[in-house]
């Protein structure tokens, strides 16, 4: 079966451009599958990861140019959210460009076709996603990360702080803000992987580290932290100790 990728198109910009491409008979590859939304701001980062997990090779958001969204600010949010999903993919050892945004004027039929064409070719060049058990598990972990309160809060509030100022009325330099949030993202991703590993079956640190292909020292630190915040507990009385996820 040939590859597929998902395009989330906004009713006002993307969908109109797609319609116009049809009226003008501007051809583009057929491996796109579109889902229409009211505004690109509706696209949840989790959807993009779901798309990849379910079988898409990529996910894109097509909407109105910045400042032209009929819904004021939706596309700004869509862009920022996609940027973080891309960073997440990089963390997971995947190509960040498998998720992207494209903002076109609603009458740009050729632009729509070209965007789809380029993305299709790019995904061909990337080759298929790693759909081994470990590969899919990494994507699922990433999905859990972007469904987490902490990361969703940071992505949203990070954009507010970047545009405005922080609680101390200071403007944080964008690179520094990014670096801080990325650090949290990295930690969160690691922890979610640990939690998910232990969700399946309680393991010792060494076993877990082997399973996740991470250094045992790092795993130990995270496990301690997670115990500290009540997410993990010691299972049974074995030696070495095994850890399990605490039911919430």
């Amino acid at each position: 079966m040939s590859k597929k990728f998902i395009g989330f198109v906004c009713e006002w910009g993307g969908y109109t451009a797609a319609d116009l491409a049809g009226f003008r008979r501007v051809a583009y590859p057929a491996d796109l599958r579109t889902i229409r939304v009211e505004c690109t701001g509706r696209v949840d980062p989790v959807w993009m990861l779901d798309a990849l997990i379910e079988g898409a090779e990529g996910a894109m958001i097509i909407g109105c140019p910045m400042g032209d969204s009929r819904h004021e600010v939706g596309n700004y949010r869509a862009q920022e959210r996609t940027r973080w999903v891309a960073k997440g993919l990089a963390l997971a050892g995947e190509r960040p460009d498998r998720v992207r945004t494209a903002f076109l004027p609603s009458e740009d039929a050729e632009g729509y076709a070209r965007t789809v064409q380029e993305f299709s070719r790019l995904l061909d060049a990337f080759g298929p996603l790693d759909r081994s058990e470990k590969g899919v598990e990494r994507l699922r972990a990433l999905r859990e990360v972007f469904a987490s309160e902490k990361i969703r809060w940071l992505v949203g509030q990070g954009q507010n702080v970047a545009e405005d100022a922080d609680a101390f009325r200071e403007k944080i330099p964008p690179l520094e803000l990014d670096a801080r949030i990325e650090e949290v993202l990295r930690d969160e991703y690691r922890r979610v992987r640990i939690l998910r590993g232990l969700r399946r079956e309680p393991m010792s640190v060494v076993a877990l580290a082997t399973h996740l292909e991470l250094p045992a020292q790092a795993v130990m630190r995270d496990v301690s932290d997670l115990i500290g915040i009540g997410r993990l507990a010691i299972e049974g009385h074995g030696d070495p100790p095994r850890f399990r996820e605490v039911a919430r």
């Binding site: 006002w12 109109t16 319609d19 116009l20 009226f23 003008r24 140019p65 400042g67 032209d68 009929r70 819904h71 004021e72 004027p105 609603s106 009458e107």
Partner: protein
């Protein structure tokens, strides 16, 4: 169209089209019947989503009723008991070619019009041409005005002027706030005449301007940044209001 779905058991009208017996309910037009029967009739100004206009005259057919035969636009002609319709005679082909030639006189460069011309065997360039300053790709089909009024609900553009100066424009040829920049008119324009452009100043009849860089269509330029207290899009789209909207 609403009568279709409210009345029960409508009267079925029997008529003949291209020698075939057909029966459709009262109120159906010849063009609608032809489409359902798979008979090809070319159109330019027809779109199922908006009201019928009958401007382009490309869809002419021969109807015979009470012994008289004449050419008429099939998009507006309702079927009648005992009607005879022919959709493809020499007379019809001649009429359609004439229509296309006359459209070409105003819009000689409209690509989609060339496609229609080719299909009908019209030799290009046509026999006539308007003065160059009167030529453009607009065939005055009115689809843009109709979608703007009926689907979008903004009614920002409409026909103005007369004769060779006839055009679809926003009021007084000035940019209007009523345009929401949705580009629906662009999608339905059969000759791809309408375009959307970025303009850097906003000129409205009171001649004020705004420093905002806003997107607007070549005809009407009123895409207001949607702000608080703005028109609810439902009001513009006529969705879910059932005629009970507040002004």
């Amino acid at each position: 169209m609403s009568d279709v779905l409210t009345s029960e058991a409508p009267a079925m009208i029997r008529f003949r089209i291209d020698g075939r017996e057909a029966a459709f309910e009262d109120g159906t037009t010849v063009l609608e019947a032809a489409r359902v029967l798979g008979i090809e009739i070319p159109t330019l100004c027809f779109n199922e989503a908006v009201s019928v206009y009958g401007a382009c005259r490309l869809c002419v057919v021969e109807v015979t009723t009470a012994g008289r035969t004449r050419l008429t636009a099939s998009c507006t002609y309702p079927i009648a008991e005992g009607l005879e319709v022919r959709t493809d005679t020499a007379e019809i082909r001649r009429a359609r070619r004439l229509v296309v030639e006359m459209l070409l006189a105003k819009s000689p460069d409209a690509g989609p019009l060339h496609v229609v011309a080719d299909a009908l065997g019209v030799k290009m360039p046509g026999r006539w041409a308007l003065a160059p300053e009167d030529q453009n790709d607009c065939i005055l089909c009115g689809l843009c005005a109709r979608v703007c009024a009926e689907i979008v609900g903004a009614a920002a553009i409409d026909f103005a002027e007369r004769g060779t100066r006839s055009a679809v424009v926003p009021f007084f040829h000035r940019h209007t706030e009523a345009c929401i920049g949705c580009a629906t008119c662009v999608t339905v324009c059969p000759t791809h005449y309408l375009k959307v452009e970025d303009l850097h100043s906003r000129e409205v009849a009171h001649a004020w301007d705004s420093a905002d860089d806003e997107r607007r269509c070549i005809l009407c330029s009123g895409w207001r940044t949607v702000a608080r207290f703005h028109e609810n899009p439902a009001a513009l789209l006529g969705i879910g209001t059932h005629g009970k909207e507040a002004p």
